[in-house]
Amino acid sequence: MNLNRRDFLKFAGATTATAALTSLPIKAEATEHFTGHPDRKGILVDTSLCIGHNCRRCEFACAKENYLPTPDKPPEDASVFDQRRRTHPDQFTVINRFPGRSEDMPVYAKKQCMHCDEPACASACLVGAFKKTPEGAVTYDASVCIGCRYCMVACPFDIPTYEYNSALHPRVRKCTFCFETKLKEGKAPACVEACPREVMTFGKREDLIKVARQKIARNPDKYVDHIYGEHEVGGTSWMYLSPVPFDSIGMRTDLGTTPYPELTRNYLSAAPLVMAIWPSFFLTLYLFNKRKDQIAAEENGKHKEESA
């Protein structure tokens, strides 16, 4: 093969440079199974206890705690339940009404960030703005956010919202678990404190699972035999009990138990393979074709000499 030292070094250099350049930024992080911070807190929501209408104190407490505008409609206005509501930049939690076991027993379900153990938003964020804290909250750091909104696409619960109307400082907005003001000091979030019916229980997540199991065991007729959030998408800090099937109170039951970061993990780990194999493959191809051309040229030359 007609490959001199200079050429070889050039190719070797190109290959190494390609590999080095491209492998530098991309590392598949979190390749081992994450079992969660041991003492992380959680909330158990017993939807069978929530009265919804004439209350919604959690919504108002949340607004006050997070300096958000007071919800438009007062607690006594039942029309607020006519439509399914979702979270918005000015409202981190909403109560929705769903048909219950009978006409006069609707189920009210609170919606807010589930604070996943392995959050999709955190794995999707290209600047690492989302963090799962040891206390259990999924926090967001607006100071690095570029506003691509991939977190909103990734979140299976449709929780993150965006300040589309801000030209200069748009932020992703979502429930914070009152991390800075309450959770950090081991206190329950504002919504939990405000609830007059003790719908929500604040505590260590693993204790809450036991509480939930006991509740179901003691009242098998009252609850569906499932703790929503115990295993969904790998487990969430907020968990739910319900008297009716979860898909009838607006919660998706088709999300599976795979932690969302794993959905892209395999793909990301294939990247280094491409970086290693492609340059050598294509440079070999190049050398092969170069050699072919050289042989053709030499034979051409010989023919000319012969005919001369």
Binding site: P25, L126, V144, G147, Y162, Y164, N165, Y267, Y286
Partner: protein
């Protein structure tokens, strides 16, 4: 002007640098007058509507010009400007590797226009992204001090940034030829092999990454479009779309820039188009079967009976299999016209696919659906128009379509 020897409007010597390099050898007055063409009038009209909308976007925020919501955070700026922009700009790395790595030198005349299309395609993807990102001035963050290494978007960001740089280096030879820097040009030519290989690596990675972005949304993307093969689909369809764009763009350039393309006869261009058509047929056929395999793998046959199934069939039969056969018929019947029809068809199919994945079939189960605001569409059209104008500006000045006379005879 009408001669058989191709000439570059900028390659004249009037003694004035400005005149030679920028005004195509004309006096400024004559140059300005030469700009008044029907196409420029249309472009001016688009800019007249689009630029105020640009201003509105940055002065009042995304909400002022778009229908994006908390439930539908991505719209046509991602679907068309980014996903289609990147996929249709794939021609650059494809044709460069065909010529430089696979050694098919007869395609050399197509390399520079394809690389320019690729470079501008990516540059305008970044421009388009500026409108979609909430805080576009923070675009360098993932490359400087905030690393979200577990994110597919992080890989996309890095690869697109590196590839844009790589394509800029690939643009050095024509730029230095234009400016007459011979030594720099000679140096730039030594980089061709390295950048071509780097281009293949980076393109493989980010073309597939754009598909992988949606792997994290199995509950949102309709199961007919959601597949573990999404990265492969995006890569292979980008190759098909890139081939389609090369055929389309070379045909259009051949007609528009007649004085520059005289060296490449119609017959030669037809020959190249048919060669590319062969590649297009193979790639599309492979893509079609991979789509079927994906369907079988995830046991989704029953979904074909729904309305969504019909729409999926429209895309897969109508815009993957049909153009594959059209390319095949073009090759068998030696019909360059058919090859060009198939090329446009393929490009449309690619746009349809990207819109299906990112807009139509995403959030298919939500009651609140997204329909783009006219101002979103205006911004997209305006960006594309500016892209075409820049392409035209560069082709008229740099040796893109023709060989610079100083370096004639040299292989690209």
């Amino acid at each position: 002007m009408a001669t058989f020897s191709p000439s570059l409007p900028g390659n004249v010597n009037t003694g004035s640098w400005l005149r030679d390099k920028l005004f195509l050898g004309m006096t400024p007055k004559a140059y300005l007058r030469s700009l008044i063409t029907p196409w420029h009038m249309v472009a001016a009209a688009i800019l007249a509507i689009g630029l105020p909308v640009f201003f509105q976007r940055f002065a009042y925020g995304i909400g002022a010009v778009s229908n994006l919501t908390d439930t539908n955070p991505w719209g046509i700026w991602i679907g068309i400007d980014v996903l289609c922009g990147v996929a249709l700009a794939a021609g650059g790395f494809i044709i460069a590797s065909i010529v430089h790595l696979f050694g098919m030198k007869e395609y050399a005349p197509l390399v520079r226009p394809a690389i320019l299309t690729g470079f501008l395609g990516y540059a305008f993807v970044v421009v388009g992204l500026m409108f979609d990102l909430g805080r576009p001035w923070r675009l360098p963050y993932p490359m400087t001090f905030a690393f979200g290494t577990s994110s597919v978007m992080f890989e996309v960001g890095w690869c697109v940034a590196l590839y844009l740089g790589c394509q800029f280096v690939e643009m050095f030879p024509p730029i230095f030829e234009w400016l007459g820097y011979k030594r720099l040009r000679a140096w730039a030519m030594t980089l061709v092999l390295g950048t071509t290989v780097l281009a293949v690596v980076l393109s493989t990675l980010h073309q597939s990454s754009l598909g992988a972005l949606f792997l994290i949304a199995p509950s949102k993307l309709h199961p007919l479009w959601y597949s573990m093969y999404l990265p492969v689909y995006f890569l292979i369809s980008a190759v098909a779309g890139g081939i389609g764009m090369i055929i389309f763009e070379s045909t259009l350039s051949h007609r528009t820039f007649k004085t520059q393309t005289g060296h490449l006869s119609h017959a030669q261009l037809d020959h190249l188009a048919l060669g590319l058509a062969k590649g297009g047929a193979i790639v599309l056929y492979l893509y079609f079967w991979l789509k079927v395999v994906g369907l079988a793998h995830e046991h989704q046959w029953s979904l074909l009976l729904s309305g969504w199934g019909l729409w999926w069939l429209v895309e897969v039969i109508g815009f993957i299999l049909a153009p594959a056969f059209l390319f095949l018929f073009a090759v068998r019947g030696l019909s360059p016209l058919l090859a060009r029809v198939a090329a446009v068809w393929t490009v449309l199919g690619l746009i349809l696919n990207r819109l299906n994945v990112s807009v139509v079939a995403l959030n298919w189960n939500q009651t609140e659906r997204y329909i783009p605001h006219w101002k979103e569409i205006t911004i997209t059209i305006t960006i594309i128009t500016i892209g075409v104008l820049v392409f035209q500006w560069m082709v008229n000045r740099m040796p893109i379509l023709l060989q610079h006379p100083d370096y004639a005879g040299e292989s690209h």
